[in-house]
């Protein structure tokens, strides 16, 4: 027999009240914690892939779309631009690196990206098995693409047109797997990399687009809009690194005004994206805080009403030798136990939510989210929950110091 045991017994006695209080707290804490986790992981994923890329050029259109498709490989490309125009950027003294990208095909949903070895170097992807692509139609698989497609070195496969796995297949030309990358934690993991020539070769003998292909599917634009000429090679976009930050000031405007391409700055577009998402996140956060406050009120009400019922019990325990402080602590403990239970359940709930979200994200975008560590912010959340539990329990429990033992015992 001790105070903790009595507190627990009291909570168990009022199962529904305790459950309601703990559940509200669980919901509130869970929501906030899930938001923190998602925010952190999305932020990390986005920043990691953006690192070192100062600018992206591609066909005119939505700059955010250009960034999403070229850096993160999650949106459709904006169209194609002539390689010659991209290459002319290399002559600009402010520009250090130009990494051309050419997309449009996939294998089982994993995008096939034609590029140069600079792209591989930029993401510091290392070959785990086999070798780097050197001839047209040779590919190196990202770690996740290799795992999920079950392709091995030496295997050949036909790509499907478009960015969904159900596009029609290019059966006449087959890619050959020559290598597999180590996991990098970046976008490379979910790609199939090859050189630019492969993509050109595949589309050289342009087939007519199959029935059912959407009119404005950017992946088909090259086929439909512009006929192929040997001398006019095209790419989808190019990642640009500047030699110094001065480039940021002049080059994007030059490109936008003087060429058929558009220039988009990843940092600006991603900030814009996050500020758009931010409105939703802020709303959810406020909602979660409201739920937490209601949880506090629920703890308060349930202790307040149970204290009224238990007034005689309190007087009895006081007459049997309990001090008022002891009983006060016992009641505080009830609030704290609810707070801790709600907090732990909330943290578990947020992990479950993250896992579900991560599974969906993996299916749709091939991005994995799998960091379940406790965040530093969640320690503050624990402190907040404890303070809430303490306050909600302390307010009604202060009455214990005003309880008249003799009168309470005589009243019944």
């Amino acid at each position: 027999m001790n105070l903790l045991k009595i507190s627990l017994a009291n909570l168990k006695e009022k199962k529904l009240n305790s459950f309601l209080s703990a559940m509200l707290l669980t919901l509130g804490i869970g929501m906030i914690s899930l938001l923190l986790l998602l925010n952190k992981q999305l932020d990390e994923q986005f920043r990691r892939n953006i690192k070192g890329i100062d600018m992206v050029v591609g066909a005119k259109g939505s700059p955010l779309q250009l960034i999403l498709s070229s850096i993160y490989q999650i949106d459709a490309p904006t169209g194609n631009v002539p390689l010659s125009e991209v290459n002319s950027l290399k002559r600009n003294p402010f520009i250090k690196n130009v990494i051309p990208l050419s997309m449009g095909d996939n294998y089982h949903g994993f995008r096939i990206v034609g590029t140069t070895t600079k792209y591989v170097d930029h993401f510091q992807a290392k070959i785990a098995e086999g070798s780097m692509f050197s001839q047209p139609m040779e590919v190196v698989l990202g770690s996740k693409a290799a795992k999920n497609s079950a392709l091995k070195i030496g295997d050949t496969f036909a790509s499907s047109h478009g960015l969904d796995s159900d596009g029609d297949a290019h059966n006449d030309k087959k890619y050959k797997v020559v290598g597999i990358f180590e996991p990098t934690g970046s976008v490379v993991d979910q790609l199939v990399l090859t050189n630019l020539e492969s993509v050109w070769e595949i589309h050289e003998h342009a087939e007519a687009p199959a029935a059912g292909v959407k009119e404005n599917d950017p992946a088909h634009e090259e086929d439909m809009a512009e006929p192929h000429h040997e001398d006019e090679k095209q790419v989808t976009s190019a990642l640009i690194q500047f030699r110094n930050p001065m480039g940021l000031i002049t080059i994007p405007r030059q490109i936008n005004e003087n060429t058929s391409m558009q220039a988009a700055l990843p940092s600006i577009e991603i900030n814009r994206l996050f500020s758009l998402l931010g409105v939703g996140i802020d709303t959810l956060r406020v909602l979660a805080l409201v739920i937490i406050v209601i949880a506090g009120v629920s703890v308060f009400i349930s202790l307040y009403s149970s204290l009224k019922e238990r007034k005689y019990e309190m007087a009895l325990m006081l007459s049997m030798g309990a001090t008022r402080t002891k009983l006060f602590l016992m009641l505080l403990m009830e609030g704290l136990l609810l707070a801790v239970t709600g907090y732990l359940a909330g943290i578990i709930l947020s992990r479950a939510g993250l896992w579900l979200f991560g599974r969906a994200a993996e299916q749709d975008f091939h991005y994995s989210i799998r960091e379940f560590n406790v965040l530093p912010e969640e320690i503050y959340l624990l402190a907040g929950a404890l303070i809430l539990g303490l306050l909600a329990a302390a307010l009604p429990s202060l009455g214990i110091y005003r309880l008249n033992i003799s009168r309470t015992l005589a009243e019944e």
Binding site: K5, L316, G321, S406
Partner: protein
């Protein structure tokens, strides 16, 4: 052993009580009879140190008990007094056994489960030890509160209308057990009641 002298208490200037002197030795029993409104419960609360008298003094186990702080009174009450109330009240969330052990815990004594079991055996509710108190009948509840009062081997047992809610059969049982148990631990038993059924049970009587 408990004695009181010249006890006087007032709730207000209209509601004043003066109480007769009492004395009850170890192993003895004393019945205090009085009709409603005569201050029976007030008298018991004074003896139980739950109220402070305006004047007069109380001795328990030979110790003079005036001018003590509330903490000291709480300690003396916990260690020397066993109190049985008119209606048996318990901490409803706890089992019968835990309610009995609670008195040892709150008095700072060892929580002796064997003793609780023995008392339950003696008082005839051993099979109910692990039930909630609300599942017991009133007679059983009153017997549990006797066990609770006995747990700390008190010097004095005070009972406030212990039988008024009980039928004749249970009344007889409870009062026999009270007398027998308090005699066996050598305590003084003071019963405050208006229950006329108890008149013939106690040779020592005081009227309010």
């Amino acid at each position: 052993m408990i004695t009181s002298k010249n006890l006087h208490f007032s709730y207000s200037s209209q509601k004043q009580f003066s109480f007769p002197d009492i004395s009850c030795n170890d192993k003895e029993a004393l019945l205090i009879l009085g009709q409603s409104g005569r201050g029976k419960t007030t008298f018991l609360h004074l003896l139980a140190l739950l109220l402070q008298p305006d004047s007069g003094n109380i001795h328990i186990a030979g110790k003079e008990l005036s001018g003590l702080s509330s903490t000291e009174r709480t300690n003396i009450r916990a260690k020397n007094l066993g109190i049985i109330y008119q209606r048996a009240h318990f901490v409803s969330a706890l089992s019968v056994l835990d309610n009995i052990l609670l008195s040892s815990y709150l008095a700072g004594n060892k929580q002796d489960k064997e003793k609780a079991g023995y008392l339950a055996e003696q008082l005839g509710f051993a099979e109910h030890l692990h039930k909630k108190t609300t599942q017991l009948s009133q007679g059983e509840q009153q017997r549990v509160s006797i066990a609770r009062a006995l747990m700390n081997n008190p010097n004095v047992i005070l009972a406030d209308e212990p039988t008024s809610n009980l039928d004749d059969n249970n009344c007889q049982k409870v009062i026999d057990l009270l007398k027998k148990q308090s005699f066996s631990i050598g305590a003084s038993l003071v019963v405050v009641t208006h229950d006329q059924r108890l008149k013939d049970e106690f040779p020592n009587q005081v009227f309010l």
